[in-house]
């Protein structure tokens, strides 16, 4: 259990931008100076996202087609990222690999977000024995380092992409749950909530109209952090051989396969690795910018 905010009673500020007299160009350049990293990150990540979603359009070849005649070819006009040891086009595999990685990370995020949100709201709002029970469960889950928990779940459910996603999802639930709960606890204590209650407003209304809107900023920041961690963990587990099946394009697995070719065909490991680093970096840039923008005082999550 981590000692959290020092002062629990002050409301969270919401940033406002001046809307009237400053010309657009100047506003944009000011934004750019302040959030250049986040913008770069945002643009890059959007590109990655689009390419992944429309993989069949962008990928020049089928990622699984073998072409043994041109195996281990370096980057060329025909194969921009070269070919791997079975002659498969690396660029196409990187694109489809991005699909595997991003879909998995988003799925895990969605799962942990949804479940963590529900648990956090119930625990924070209802309080009492329900709160205690949920938090104890979360504590138990948090007793495991997240990679370890993911590994345990993968071992018990068996290897494979789906199970890895479930494992990462489960490992991330307690973080969301605790964050949500702490925010709910703060919000719930505020006067207008008590007032609304005394006026007979239904719990559901209070939750949706008062609590939710104020939760979004910190949740967004946490979500970007969790997405980055999810991508990193997913690829790491695939790198170790605990996830996707042999042959499925995935950045982690491609780096693992390319590891023993580093001196003969470095492009096989280099490109998927580079894409992985840049993607995680861009997500972190976005998160950092969000964090700066939304509330410089909000520092109750552990990094």
């Amino acid at each position: 259990m981590v000692p959290i905010v020092k002062d629990a009673s002050a409301p969270l500020p919401v940033k406002q931008l001046p809307i009237n007299s400053i010309p657009l160009v100047k506003r944009l350049s000011r934004l750019w100076r302040k959030y250049s990293l986040a913008v770069v990150g945002g643009v890059f990540f959007t590109i990655v996202l689009i390419v992944s979603v429309f993989a069949p359009t962008f990928a020049p070849y089928d990622p699984m087609t073998l072409d043994l005649k041109s195996r281990l070819a370096g980057p060329s006009a025909a194969h921009v990222f070269g070919t791997d040891n079975l002659g498969r086009d690396v660029l196409s595999r990187v694109i489809y690999g991005g699909r595997t990685v991003l879909s998995g990370a988003f799925a895990a995020l969605a799962m942990s977000f949804a479940i963590g949100l529900s648990i956090g709201i119930i625990a924070g709002y209802k309080g009492g024995w329900l709160d205690n029970l949920f938090m104890r469960l979360m504590d138990i889950l948090l007793s495991f380092p997240s990679v370890l928990l993911a590994i345990l779940i993968v071992t018990s459910l068996g290897a494979g992409q789906t199970n890895v996603v479930i494992a990462i999802g489960i490992a991330q639930i307690p973080i969301f749950a605790r964050l949500v709960r702490s925010i709910v606890l703060i919000l719930v204590n505020q006067e207008y909530v008590a007032a609304a209650r005394s006026l007979g407003a239904r719990d559901r209304t209070i939750i949706f109209s008062h609590i939710f809107p104020n939760m979004i900023p910190p949740m967004l920041v946490q979500a970007t952090a969790m997405l980055a961690i999810g991508i990193a963990t997913l690829t790491a587990l695939n790198f170790l051989g605990l996830g996707v099946e042999t042959g499925t394009p995935d950045w982690g697995m491609m780096v693992a396969d390319g590891q023993k070719l580093l001196f003969d065909a470095p492009h096989v490991a280099f490109f998927p690795g580079l894409c992985l680093v840049l993607t995680v970096l861009s997500v972190n840039f976005i998160g950092d910018g969000l964090r700066d923008h939304l509330d410089p005082r909000l520092r109750n999550q552990a990094g």
Partner: protein, 536 residues
Amino acid sequence: MRSRVFLVLAALALILSISHVQAHNATFQATAQATAQATPQRGGTLNVAAESMSNSLDIGFWQGFGALHVIDSIGEGLVRANFETGKVLPGLAESWKVSSDGLDYVFNIRKGMVFQDGAPITAQAIVRSMKRSQTPKDPAYIDGMYMYGNQGIDNWQSLDAVDDNTVELKLKKPNATQLLVFTRPDGYIISPKAMDTYGKDVGLHMAMAGPYKIERFVPGQEAVLDANPDYWAGKPYLDKIIIRAYPDEASILAALQAGEVDLTLYAPFDSVPRIQKDSSGGLRIVVGAPLVDLLLGINVTQKPLDNVMVRQAINYAIDRDAIIQAGLAGMGQAPASILAPNDLGFDPAGKTISHYDPTKAKQLLTQAGVTLPIPVTLSFENDRFWPVLAELISNNLNAVGFKVTLDRLDQGSFAGKESAGKTVLALDQRSTFLPDPNDKVLIVDSVLSIGGMSHPEALPTAKQLDALIDSGTTTLDPAARAGIYKQIQAMVLDQMNIVYLAYLTPPIFVRDRVQNVDTQGTAAGRVDFRGIWLKQ
């Protein structure tokens, strides 16, 4: 602005470091190597990288090639083998006589030898060690030392120490391979002192009679060996040998490139062309003889694999050329069948059957009248070239009407599953462990391989094949034996319960200063460290 610059710099650094490696290799000119036979020098430490190290060095049940390298260095049997000529050479026995009917062996043991722990090497010690698996009362007896089964013990009438320096072995039936099986690790002699002192744990404290002795053994990790000054043939050239297990090919490659490893069989084959082209990297490749068969075992008890046409279809569906080029980086030869070019009785005619013909494969499946696609599971070890081979074969089989599920396993689980007969299709290899074909054909012997990978006992020709294999060992005339092994090959091709993929010509990765690495035994994994020396 600065942030962007930094990002570019970081990426540049990464690219530079990787391209530096390539540039480094390309800048130097390939220099011709002086390969003149020089006088061996003494001294130095040889660092060997292995793919594994078992948890015990007990010759009754070791696992993996790492343990094999260690045991081959520290052990010595009655005799030794010359892999090239197939001749039997003196070991602990300086001479021997075999009766004309092949039933009586008398070995004259060298006088004055000692084991690595100081105990004298007597005929009695030798007999005790050789009879270990038959003597439950011996403190070093362990129930389950299956390796000893390779010694032909079931055929022994008696084994006695006639006097301190003479061992006599009487057989029930003649066995043409009896002398050669003594060159297996299970034929090495363990010191009685070690057996008494350590009992069942003697595998952790092996004291034998070979050219090197154990200084330190860390189960599962490494063994550090020192030269044995009391070795009967004289102290070997190297001071020390360190045999270390690495978890995968990538770490062996890294160690090789960093100069930490001097000799290994287990680096990635894809590195071979580069190392062969650029000798300035301090490494060279010694290409081994084709002594390792790569094969696909088919479980004939699984429907519809019990239909020989389906098995033949599998045979014709596989593109061996692609396997050799893409999976083995060219380090292999197109196969015939169960025996390889160096084996007695090898018949190259089999090559016409073991070859790629996907049209014929599809025809056979149609003829067999089976419903397509046929679901099969392909089990393989998750290291070295096996995953790539599995992918290639899976592609081939899927193309003709199979539906392959890949079953990646670690070394231990794979060995277990295979020997328990639970695989459907399995990728494996068989080395010429000793220069005699009998070892290799045992894989299709229905008694000795009962319930194994291909379940040979379920074939209609099982009894016939067993009788042939048996006569292969009981026939003493080499020419007659050759004829028998030719027949065995034909039968295996006919039944196709084992499909042969390639004869591996293993590349041996050697550092420049390492001299005199032989291409025969080493290729089969039986490295003879006695002849190796280091240029100072």
